[in-house]
């Protein structure tokens, strides 16, 4: 529950996109995006399919660097150290170590539940068994799945149900204490009950971590987010507090989308 006092507070910046353009080869997918991401808040990206919201999200952890022919222009500033995440001198791996990501379809690794969650720690060179166990337990609790899997840690992760797999993937991302957590339509492959559990979890998580979430579901955006950005054809049309965007959008296009006349 948020007290009226907190709402008055000016939130601190966690990240900010400045004049961000993105190209898939010749194809311009993001057009001059400027947008703040506030610390310990949930920011939702909404818009019709193909509007560039996933492309934008995947710029934050440099996923586009995995494929040839992609190009960024502009900056994403990351605070408090004011690093440009897209800078040529910034190592994408270092960026990914600071920023976690949860994907559209649950993608547990073909390993045990324990090893899935410990993955990021092992990548960072952690081998101390005690530390790993502590961190894994903490992360699984943070992802609200500890009670379900605490006796099955040596089992293969792909044997879990879809909703459990997705929470496991969240635990995997949480285990390394990311500063920003990216969610790419995390509930689109899940049933309503599992979706509810994830949404509740996101609400809990924002106490610890800044969250940026892409969703195709406007109700979800309204339920989980503090801020919402509406994107259309690679452009950022409107950004604001979620209640304001949904109650009195400034732009005609946002209104059309939210009221269901489009998209």
């Amino acid at each position: 529950m948020e007290s009226p006092m907190q709402i008055q507070e000016t939130p601190t910046l966690k990240a900010e996109a400045r004049n961000l353009n993105f190209f898939y080869g010749e194809n311009k997918a993001l057009r001059n995006i400027n947008m703040p991401i506030y610390d310990k808040k949930v920011t939702a990206l909404i818009g019709p399919s193909g509007c560039g919201k996933s492309t934008y999200l995947r710029s934050f952890n440099r996923m586009h660097d995995l494929y040839p022919g992609n190009r960024y222009e502009g900056e994403i500033r990351f605070f408090p150290d004011n690093t440009n995440l897209l800078g040529a001198d910034v190592d994408p791996i270092e960026v990914r170590m600071r920023i976690g990501m949860v994907f559209q379809k649950p993608n547990p690794f073909p390993k045990t539940i324990f090893e899935n969650v410990a993955y990021g720690l092992r990548v960072r060179g952690e081998t101390n068994k005690r530390v790993l166990e502590d961190k894994v337990e903490h992360a699984l609790k943070g992802a609200a799945i500890w009670e379900e899997v605490k006796d099955r840690l040596p089992e293969q992760a792909p044997n879990l149900s879809g909703g459990q797999q997705q929470r496991l993937c969240i635990a995997r991302a949480l285990a390394t204490d990311p500063e920003l957590l990216l969610f790419d339509e995390p509930t689109s492959a899940l049933d309503p009950i599992a979706t509810g559990a994830i949404e509740e979890l996101i609400h809990e998580l924002k106490k610890r971590v800044t969250i940026l979430i892409v969703t195709h579901n406007m109700q979800q955006a309204a339920r989980v987010s503090d801020y919402t950005a509406y994107m259309y054809l690679g452009e950022m049309i409107e950004f604001g507090k979620t209640d304001e965007i949904f109650i009195k959008p400034q732009d005609k296009r946002t209104e059309d989308y939210i009221t269901g006349r489009m998209g």
Binding site: M97, F109, P110, A173
Partner: protein, 319 residues
């Protein structure tokens, strides 16, 4: 039925009747022809089953005659293999030792090299390199084994002798190494296919955690593709155990109970070749020996393939 009905309905229209019966006759012929074709095609498909039955029949029936004169215990425990001598011994272990030793050398080359090439092509190389390298690997896999045998005896053995002066002119080592190179393309190609089939989302999950390419390849892609990798290794083992000409040319054909690759030795396959090159009368014990040896070879291959099936079932892809 239809014919009768038509007859009743239009008894006085002879030409109608004629047309219908024509069409029916045509249909009947068409059906008959279709069935015949299906039967012929089925017969073609059963040729493969007949081949298997034929293999089992030939090997087992000749082996039964063989084991009528040689006891199975001797066959499995004797340490000498001199089937064509007056003082005949039939210790198959002598040949099996050569087969296993040369296969071991070959796989010690082929499995690591094939897997590394597969990981490199699937995870590291850009598409241009892959598009050139894969067809060339396939070409390498098509080189006749007799050519590899020539290469082992006349090129590789002299090179090895330069480093190991005590190496004899025929050796399991030289044959095994070349056999390994021969098997590399099979393992590389099949393993690469298996790894490419791992969905990109799984790799992205790993990269998003800050993993490097090699870490992702070893900890995510390889475990996800493990059943395909196992299948490629099993194929490699089958190839190695059944390979004939490289061994017949480069490993020498004298029976030798040894697990030392620096020595020459006969294998099950090269023994069969040696006997076939001579002129053995049909029905003699020497003639039957090659079928008993062949049956042993088939059993070894079968064991590895069952092992492979079991491995596949155990590590079924679950992505």
């Amino acid at each position: 039925m239809l014919l009768v009905n038509t007859h009743i309905m239009s008894p006085n229209n002879a030409s109608d009747l004629h047309q219908v019966s024509d069409r029916l006759a045509y249909n009947a012929m068409r059906n008959w022809k279709e069935r015949l074709i299906e039967a012929v095609l089925l017969a073609a498909a059963t040729v493969s089953v007949l081949t298997t039955l034929g293999i089992v029949y030939v090997l087992v029936s000749e082996s039964i005659s063989f084991f009528a004169s040689v006891s199975i215990v001797d066959f499995l425990t004797d340490t000498q293999w001199t089937p064509l001598f007056d003082d005949a011994h039939f210790g198959i272990m002598v040949l099996i030792s050569g087969t296993l030793t040369s296969s071991f050398v070959a796989l010690a080359v082929a499995i690591p090299m094939g897997t590394i090439i597969a990981i490199y092509l699937s995870e590291f190389a850009d598409s241009r390199v892959r598009e050139i390298a894969k067809p060339i690997l396939e070409l390498l896999g098509g080189i006749p084994t007799i050519v590899f045998g020539y290469f082992a005896l006349l090129v590789v053995t002299p090179i090895l002798q330069f480093f190991i002066p005590s190496l004899p002119g025929f050796s399991l080592l030289s044959a095994g190494l070349v056999m390994g190179i021969m098997i590399v393309p099979y393992i590389a190609s099949l393993s690469e296919d298996a790894m490419r089939a791992v969905p990109m989302s799984m790799r992205e999950g790993s990269y998003a955690m800050g993993a490097t390419k090699l870490y992702t390849a070893i900890h995510v892609v390889v475990p996800a593709a493990i059943s395909g990798l196992a299948a490629s290794y099993i194929l490699g083992i089958s190839r190695a155990v059944g390979e004939t000409m490289i061994l017949a040319v480069a490993a020498g054909m004298q029976p030798n109970l040894t697990f030392n690759p620096m020595e020459p030795a006969a294998t099950i396959t090269s023994f069969i070749v040696q006997v076939a090159l001579g002129d053995l009368p049909h029905g003699s014990i020497g003639y039957q020996t090659i079928f008993a040896a062949g049956l042993t070879l088939l059993m070894i291959t079968l064991v590895f393939n069952i092992l492979g099936l079991w491995l596949r079932a155990k590590f079924r892809e679950n992505y």
